[in-house]
């Protein structure tokens, strides 16, 4: 071989285009009666971004777990750089140059960025070396981060940067990204894809991008593999496909429902339906009474940081207002405020014209504000209580006889709601912990809606759900609005906001940047407001 460093050769000896970095053949993996991967062939080439598209449960993650040595396949072979290998542990995968950035972060909140980056390394702790490495990598790839910042103080997008830096520091030749944009906004996603492009073109690495968002696959990848129900249903050069074709292969039928279009991140479809929606009447909505009225709300965090800064927003009866914004710009604080978890330092919140005492436990709930929190485990439910108890929580009046709580009434309430909201649970007395994510979400939704709220706040309500559950959730939000509830949808997914909202508000650094009617909204203005430029 003429080149001294084969790892950076762009072509193989015959000069037939990019070298194959990963070649998986006939991979089979079964879990009891479910086949997660059935005779899967998968290839990744150096210098290219390979997309891996599929719905939740299509087998993408299983395939990647096989590649990273987390699970052992029942059958099949793997070649890395032309060498037949057996990968039986993540350590072996690491030694082969395979690294994965997971969807759920594995950073430690209490530690700083550089400490997290050195985690798991067995050599002597070298602070200045680690800090230097972090600075170097962040400069080279445009991953702006302060090595001395504590992870707990970072936004989701910044945490992901730390994960990527941690991964790049080990200098892997094959990088796998699992749904990397699920917590990122448009701008952050674009930054990430720029980095990825740099990694493959300038450094000849191979990248796998796992996603269920069509736009992402179309914009960021060179080739795409589509999986459905554990088999590869299509492979194509990305430039030769379009969104509709990808979606069809992915779900196995033509995408028609708007809810699904949203779930797939099919911006164009969402926009089309948005404009052609016949029921939309902006003037009529604005004439309705204001139900939720947030006035000059200011919340001050540790060290005097204003988490919400003079934030004002009105939601009318029967209206859906979407609050768009880059993650970590005060949405979480607004959510906590409306769950009575934080007090205001200035301003007030009114429901139906009545001022609500902020920060007093349950006050927002009693005033008629229902919240489906972004992290249902943190504040939406009690995992170690039963499903029936979670369907009540502190709404004890309706399940009490005198001063005593009645088990029978709790059960009756649960049976009614389980049926009404199609919650899949073996029994009302099953611990909440045993339910799947989608069904836990339904329990939260059922409880909040069964209190007949005046206001419904949904924060990232479809995050982490599969297409069917997304459709269910969006239908529920729309039904709530039709029933006269004022709905505030907090989301970082613009597609979701565009598809559901009557008006769109944008938040940046805790401040309201502006509010636009849906039919006046265009991506450029929204993008500018999300970037901090007031309307």
């Amino acid at each position: 071989m003429s080149d001294a460093n084969p790892a950076i050769t762009l072509t193989d000896e015959a000069g037939n285009g990019p070298r194959v970095a990963v070649k998986m053949r006939g991979i089979i993996k079964r879990y009891a009666s479910v086949i997660a991967c059935d005779q899967v062939d998968f290839e990744v080439r150096r210098g290219e971004i390979q997309g891996l598209l599929g719905q939740n449960g299509a087998g993408k993650s299983t395939l990647m777990k096989v590649l990273t040595g987390v699970i052992t396949p029942d059958a099949g072979s793997i070649e890395i750089d032309g060498q037949q290998v057996v990968i039986s542990s993540p350590q072996e995968a690491g030694a082969l140059g395979i690294a994965m950035v997971h969807q759920h972060f594995s950073v430690i909140d209490a530690l700083t960025v550089w400490e997290n980056v050195t985690l798991g390394e067995r050599t002597k702790l070298d602070k200045s070396g680690a800090v230097k490495a972090v600075k170097e990598i962040s400069a080279r790839y445009g991953l702006d981060i302060d090595p001395f910042a504590t992870i707990g103080s970072l936004t989701a997008g910044q945490r992901q940067r730390v994960e990527i830096i941690k991964c790049l520091r080990r200098d892997p030749s094959i990088l796998i990204f699992d749904e990397p944009t699920s917590v990122l906004t448009l701008a952050e996603s674009e930054e990430l894809f720029t980095t990825l492009r740099h990694v493959v073109t300038a450094e000849n690495r191979a990248v796998v991008l796992i996603s269920h968002k069509l736009d992402e696959i179309l914009n960021a990848t060179d080739y795409v593999t589509i999986m459905r129900n554990g088999v590869v249903v299509a492979e194509a050069k990305t430039s030769e496909t379009d969104a509709r074709g990808l979606a069809r292969e992915m779900v196995g039928r033509d995408v028609s429902l708007r809810g699904e279009a949203v779930a797939l991140g099919l911006m164009h479809a969402a926009e089309q339906t948005a404009v052609t929606d016949a029921t939309f009447d902006a003037e009529e909505l604005q004439a309705r009474p204001i139900v939720l009225d947030i006035n000059n709300a200011t919340v001050t965090g540790r060290g005097g940081v204003k988490l919400l800064d003079d934030f004002s927003l009105e939601v009318h009866r029967g209206e859906i207002v979407g609050l768009a914004g880059v993650e970590g710009n005060g949405q979480a604080t607004l959510e906590k405020l409306l769950m009575s978890l934080v007090p205001l330092s200035e301003g007030d919140v009114q429901v139906d014209g009545e001022k609500v005492k902020d920060g007093r436990p349950g006050s927002m709930g009693h005033a008629g504000v229902a919240v489906i929190p972004e992290d249902r485990h943190e504040a939406g439910c009690v995992l170690d209580m039963t499903v029936a108890e979670n369907l009540v929580l502190d709404d004890l009046d309706r399940v009490s006889k005198g001063r005593l709580v009645s088990k029978q009434l709790i059960r009756e309430n649960a049976q009614k709601l389980i049926k009404e909201y199609e919650i899949k649970t073996p029994s009302p007395d099953t611990p909440m912990r045993s339910l799947s994510g989608g069904n836990q979400q339904k329990v939260v939704l059922a409880r909040e809606l069964s209190r007949n709220p005046k206001v419904l706040v949904a924060a990232q309500p479809t995050h982490g759900l599969d297409v069917g559950a997304v459709e269910y959730m969006t239908n529920q939000l729309r039904a709530a609005a039709e029933a006269g509830v004022a709905v505030l949808l907090i989301s970082t997914e613009l597609e979701e906001i565009l598809a559901l909202s009557d008006r769109i508000a944008v938040i940046n650094e805790g401040k309201l940047m502006g509010v636009v009617e849906r039919n006046e909204a265009d991506l450029e203005t929204l993008g500018m407001m999300m970037g901090g430029q007031a309307l």
Binding site: G57, P361, G362, G365, V382, L383, K424, G437, G438
Partner: protein
């Protein structure tokens, strides 16, 4: 899941839970018993080894002494019950705090303050016996509650960690007791103007809690009070809104606050309640078990109440047998010490037995968590499978 999903929750039942039969429950109990047996045998083996290495006594002598002191005859059983009484009262209060997610290690201090308050009321107010005892016990409870209240106020006003504040308040309480026992105008005994070492006078027979005597069996009537309190707290915890709320707060404080549970009222309240019980336990111990207060009074007894609550894992009924077990260890330990085994060895033997009792619940807890995760994973797999079915059908 799509909307026209044909599967019902019944279809999922066998997938998620597996067939539910009496077999599995019997198996669970068997595993429990086996675990305890193994751990206990291990503890006894270690304890025996220790005793052989340090003394002339044989392991059999140790077990025999423990048995003689705690269970051999009605009088021994009476002593066991008597020793268990304050432990039971302390544990009853702590079940309330741990249910609300507050972890206090302050029973020792609250117990001692309870002793001081009870002692001051009985010795200094000059009341007739019955009002003196009743008022003394109430004062003991109030003292313990106030002492715990300091930690509660610090926690919810300034955010001071409860574990640290209750621990430090224990040391303060020891010094408070020492102060009271070193001042003759407070609790120190004085005979014929001669000042004795720091200890209180012995409580006159008529000012003690009445005894329950049936044949050779004799014990303090404090146990009746303790059992009534156990039943009362169990009922309140299981059936009232307050019980439901505190459970919610303990399991997920954020969800609880969003739902309307006040951390200050329910969480701080639970801390004060545990203080009331620990203080009362001090009063009962003084008037019913040990009529003279010296420095170091009570010893590890409040700590054993803490362990009782821990072992019982928030179950308000299980604390009764567990407290009796600790009572038996104490009663047996007294006997063991009388046979010449050094008292620190006696304590180590007790500690080993306690560890053996703590291990099985810990092991089972981990196993349960793993099982719950598995069930969730299987449910997710079932969901994927049913989705496939729908798509095949479509």
């Amino acid at each position: 899941m799509t909307v026209d999903e044909p599967t019902t929750s019944e279809d999922l039942l066998p997938v998620v839970m597996g067939p539910k039969t009496g077999d599995t429950r019997a198996k669970g109990i068997l595993i429990n018993v086996a675990l305890y047996a193994i751990c206990m045998l291990g503890a006894v083996a270690l304890a025996s080894l220790l005793v052989i290495l340090t003394t002339d006594a044989s392991p059999f002598d140790v077990i025999h002494a423990l048995y003689l002191g705690s269970l051999s005859e009605p009088a021994a059983i009476g002593r066991t019950v008597e020793q268990a009484t304050p432990i039971l009262i302390v544990a009853t209060g702590l079940v309330v705090t741990s249910r609300a997610g507050v972890f206090s290690i302050g029973p020792e201090g609250q117990f001692l303050i309870g002793v001081v308050f009870t002692g001051m009321v009985i010795f200094k107010l000059g009341l007739p016996p019955v009002p003196a005892i009743v008022l003394g016990l109430i004062a003991g409870a109030v003292g313990g509650g106030l002492w715990a209240g300091i930690a509660a106020v610090l926690r919810y006003w300034r955010g001071v960690d409860v574990i640290i504040s209750t621990l430090l308040l224990n040391f303060v309480a020891i010094e408070v007791l020492s102060f009271f026992l070193n001042k003759t105008w407070l609790l120190q005994e004085k005979v014929n103007k001669q000042v004795l070492p720091p200890q209180s006078p012995s409580l006159n027979e008529s000012f003690r809690l009445p005894r329950i005597t049936i044949g050779g069996f004799t014990t303090t009537s404090g146990i009746i009070l303790a059992l009534v309190l156990v039943a009362l707290m169990a009922f309140l915890g299981m059936r009232t809104r307050w019980g439901f709320r505190s459970r919610m707060l303990g399991l997920n404080p954020n969800s609880a606050q969003a739902a309307g549970v006040s951390k200050v009222l329910v969480g701080g309240g639970s801390l004060v309640i545990s203080g009331l019980f620990a203080g009362l336990a001090g009063g009962v111990w003084f008037t019913g078990v040990n009529p003279r207060v010296v420095l170091g009074s009570g010893g590890t007894m409040p700590g054993e109440g803490l362990l009782t609550a821990l072992i019982s894992r928030r179950n308000p009924i299980v604390i009764v047998p567990v407290a009796l077990f600790f009572g038996a260890l104490r009663a047996g330990g007294l006997r063991l010490a009388a046979t010449g085994v050094p008292s620190n060895i006696v304590q180590i033997v007790q500690a080993l037995v306690v560890l053996a009792a703590l291990l099985p619940p810990a092991i089972l807890h981990v196993a349960e968590r793993r099982k719950a995760v598995k069930i969730a994973q299987r449910a997710a797999a079932a969901e994927i499978a049913s989705q496939e079915k729908v798509e095949v059908a479509a």
